[in-house]
Chain length 593, copies 2
């Protein structure tokens, strides 16, 4: 499933158009972190890309002597954004030994998709090697050395290759690349849908049979349009220039124009039966995102969750089927802290042989979020001086007025909306919720809100709630919970590590029953991971929240919460009747709703 060609063919069979995105390695670390956030926004919207491309950072783009950043970015995008990634690779300045080394490492990092290119003529002091003259040599080399392991995509040039003046030769070279073992073609940019479609016909006429995907350059600014066409030696059509010239200094207008013509061209391509669209994003987001959202075809695509959470592509975690629920709003941190595990639990939590979590580092705390922008966080969360001020931040988050919390960086999920009113009520009572799920008693796996897994199945959940609360409520809370007999499993802990629980072993909180399959239980609650999660979640109070204030009341308030409050989670084992967690919490605060 992480081979691009397999994924594309599956979409062609089901006639569900897809899109993919191309990004280039940023020059700075901050830029790279921003890029991950950007890709993640694409990945988490309702119509995520089928795959993304990361271009090859050939000589000169990255600092001489430092390692090429492309493979690292590909690995991160795969593991943390859970997107299958196509790594570009150029060959004209590399030896066979160098290319071999790159590919061996790629394979070890679960990278199995390569876009094979010749590369531009070298700048700086780099020299051409004679090992690879053309892209076709790289395709041959990959097939010869690595067999069928890699999915190979090659570039096609609807307007001809800049170094090749005969159209017939162009097509011949393209066919040679396919005959040498390429699985798919992505086209260079073009300006009219008709240009691409005519060229595809020419390709088919000389016997090229693999999928051919159009590469779309959304018009995002006047300068980028000029630059890219100059670089690729493609002349901008007169009609386009005539449209753009009058608004060339009005960025907003250019973008509007880009969305309009981009949407129209994409609609034409899809109507003509093109299986998918590949966007040259130039690391920008807005125009591409708007075009995608305009396209009706993507809206028809079912977004099936394989599991309630996303698994990174690749072999390493391919059998993983169980995770603790604690990190469900911080999956990247979970993936990072477990990446050294030898194997991942599938049937049951605890079957894994290496359940030790990686240390909590700054990297894990800030993973892919507004790293260096305390001012943004101050704007979101204000400067609380009382506990009610903090309560209001939690309530504002639930109401969509605050974009994120230290523990939750995404919008609240559709299933959370089902219990929103109850959540607001108990937050108001001083139970600051950071994770929850409603009970589900056998809904179809196709259910748009809580469904996951193959069709024809039934999914189940036990109600779950996790929150911070003040130490003075703990005694009453425990008494109320115990008064329900075995109904609730709960865990309570504070920074010091005081720990109160009736959870002895891992317990399943989400599971599914499917035709022809064993039971799948993708999320669990367990006492061992909870202690690890406790450290992470308390740390976030200070590192993401307390740290944004100068010394003073707000800093002291957050520090005092950090030092004294309890982290609590509760599972309602009765998933077939009305959940009682909220009722129990209302009893603790002694005023009925």
């Amino acid at each position: 499933m992480s081979s691009v060609i397999d994924m594309v063919k599956e979409r062609m069979e089901t006639q569900e158009p897809f899109y993919s995105l191309e990004f280039f390695p940023p020059r700075t670390e901050d830029g790279t972190i921003n890029l991950y956030s950007r890709i993640d926004r694409f990945a988490t919207q309702p119509y995520p890309p089928l795959f993304v491309d990361i271009t090859w950072s050939a000589g000169g783009v990255h600092k001489p002597g430092s390692p090429n950043p492309t493979p690292g970015i590909v690995k991160q995008v795969q593991e943390y954004c859970c997107l299958t990634t196509n790594m570009h690779l150029t060959c004209n300045t590399s030896t066979k030994a160098e290319i071999r080394e790159i590919l061996v490492k790629a394979k070890a990092n679960n990278i199995r998709n390569i876009l094979a290119l010749r590369g531009d003529p070298p700048e700086n002091k780099q020299k051409l090697t004679n090992d690879f003259k053309y892209a076709v040599d790289l395709v041959k080399f990959i097939r010869q050395e690595f067999g069928d392991y890699f999915c190979i995509t090659v570039a096609g040039y609807p307007y001809g290759h800049p170094d090749c003046t005969h159209d017939a030769d162009n097509l011949k070279h393209l066919k040679e690349k396919v005959d040498a073992g390429a699985n798919m073609i992505i086209s260079q940019l073009f300006f009219q849908a008709e240009d691409f479609l005519r060229w595809v016909e020419d390709c088919r006429a000389i016997g090229i049979q693999c999928p051919i995907i159009p590469g779309i350059l959304p018009i995002q600014s006047y300068s980028s349009l000029r630059n890219i066409t100059k670089m690729s030696s493609i002349g901008v059509p007169e009609s386009l220039l005539k449209d753009v010239d009058p608004i060339k200094d009005d960025d907003a207008a250019i973008k509007e124009y880009g969305v309009k013509v981009g949407t129209e061209m994409c609609q034409k391509l899809i109507s003509a039966g093109t299986p998918g669209l590949h966007f040259y994003t130039l690391n920008q987001e807005v125009v591409t995102m708007r075009i995608i959202r305009n396209l009706e075809s993507f809206k028809r695509v079912r977004t099936i969750r394989e599991l309630p959470w996303k698994r990174p592509p690749g072999i390493k975690r391919s059998r993983e089927e169980v995770r603790p629920i604690y990190w469900s709003n911080r999956t990247k941190s979970y993936v990072a802290r477990t990446e050294d595990w030898d194997d991942y639990p599938n049937g049951r939590w605890g079957d894994s042989s290496s359940p030790a979590y990686g240390d909590l580092t700054d990297y894990h705390i800030f993973l892919h979020t507004n790293r260096d922008k305390p001012e943004e966080r101050r704007k979101m969360w204000g400067s609380p001086v009382t506990v009610s001020d903090v309560t209001n931040v939690f309530i504002s988050f639930l109401k969509g007025k605050v974009k994120e919390l230290p523990w939750i960086t995404s919008e609240i999920s559709p299933e959370t909306h089902q219990i929103l009113e109850e959540l607001v009520d108990i937050n108001r009572r001083g139970f600051w919720t950071i994770n929850s799920q409603p009970a589900v008693n056998g809904k179809p796996s196709s259910d748009p809100v809580v469904g996951w897994g193959p069709k024809g199945g039934l999914v189940y959940q036990k109600a779950y709630l996790e929150f911070f609360t003040s130490p003075d409520k703990i005694d009453d809370l425990v008494n109320v919970l115990k008064s329900y007999g075995d109904r609730f499993n709960f865990q309570l802990t504070n920074l010091k590590g005081d720990y109160l629980t009736n959870v002895e072993n891992a317990l399943a909180v989400t599971w599914g029953i499917f035709p022809g399959k064993q039971v799948v239980q993708p999320t669990i609650v367990d006492p061992v991971s909870f202690k690890v999660w406790k450290d992470e979640s308390f740390c976030l109070w200070i590192q993401k929240w307390g740290s944004i204030y100068e010394d003073g009341e707000s800093k002291e308030l957050i520090k005092s919460i950090y030092n004294n409050y309890y982290l609590v989670n509760i599972v309602d084992n009765n998933f077939t009747e009305e959940p009682k967690i909220f009722e129990a919490l209302r009893k603790v605060t002694k005023e009925e709703k």
Copy 2:
């Protein structure tokens, strides 16, 4: 859980009286197989024994030079009857090295309960060693060499030890054994409840605090009564002799008498607060069984199934939680054929590293059943000459008129009774059923028919049916099954190995959801085990059925069924609505019910 003292203490806490049984090693192989069947009948009735004792076959009872049969019998009873077993061990003719070797082997075989005895004065050429003079020396040695691993029981003598004339010394010796590390006392036989109870008081008075269990000798025949009392030097009370003398030649009357006085004495003991009863069965069954069935207290005991099938006691299979459904009527064969596995699957089928089944041998085919009694089987199954004759055998089994089938040696289960009428109907239509379960959609784990597992849970099942049928029905059957879409998973195969299926991987057919636990899925259907089961189930046609006839029509008929018929199983994935398997089968035979 397989430590006798832990089990006894648990029953004392819950105030649920138990009983245990004592057997001695038979002198012949046939006798041993009969003993297993006998123990198995106790084990599978509604009030099974808490544990059984196997006495030590000291010198002379077994053939000189051949290994002592006791440890082997203990192992078999534990593994195939799934009963925790207390192994007797005498020491007066053994060296420390010999005892150490016996105990090391016992430990390796998951035996962890020892009844430590001195032993009778040696007969034949055996000599007393000086390593162990009294039972207390053995208790000390076991504790010294094996720490707390073994649960040690010792014998107590309400009427005094034959070699010790002073009552006070008797109690002192008993207390020494307890002080040396014995966990429990089982008494020697006695004839009046009051004698035992008075003696227990004496034991308590000198500070013996461990559980003391009365050993009951049911009166089963005049000769055995005389022999046993002679051997143990205990005088039979006058009143008893007066009762028995007039009927001493009437076996049936003696047995009736034994049941009556045994029941009365047991009732007195239990009313007085005795935690359990230990029966000296003398390898007999009837009187003990009747006394047990008379005792109201046992009827009150909940019989909780930990899982839908029984796991042998001991460490080896302690984590086992998943089995294929095929062997559910032949669990002993399953246990035998998997006993070499390195580990047993728990969370999921297929996680086990060694899924290879042991070869099918005669031993597996006949395991614990009427091994050498073809005449009994001929009486049960008659001499069929037509296919309908065979159909009638299957129907007679369902109706309780035939006691067993080659594939099923126990009575049909309570849950099968729920679908009995449907089963009879489809057997009449030529689908000879050998295994089935109804669908269950979340019944309490305490349900008396389908419940299993800890309290507060819900259990689920997919409807399952397995049968033999003639080859002419196969095409229609497949078409009908496929007409239901993904609803059914099915496997069809014949002796030659033609195989038709839509089962790709293991699929769960029984599972349970419990408070504070992960999902448990104790039975599955899978394609790999099915092929192994197919060989076993076809083999049973010939070995258990065809083989009982001389050459002729009946033998030819069974052989032809063996050669041509199909073994089929069907899972109905829809467990929340009315099952459709029977409806589908009726469609195949084209006449609606």
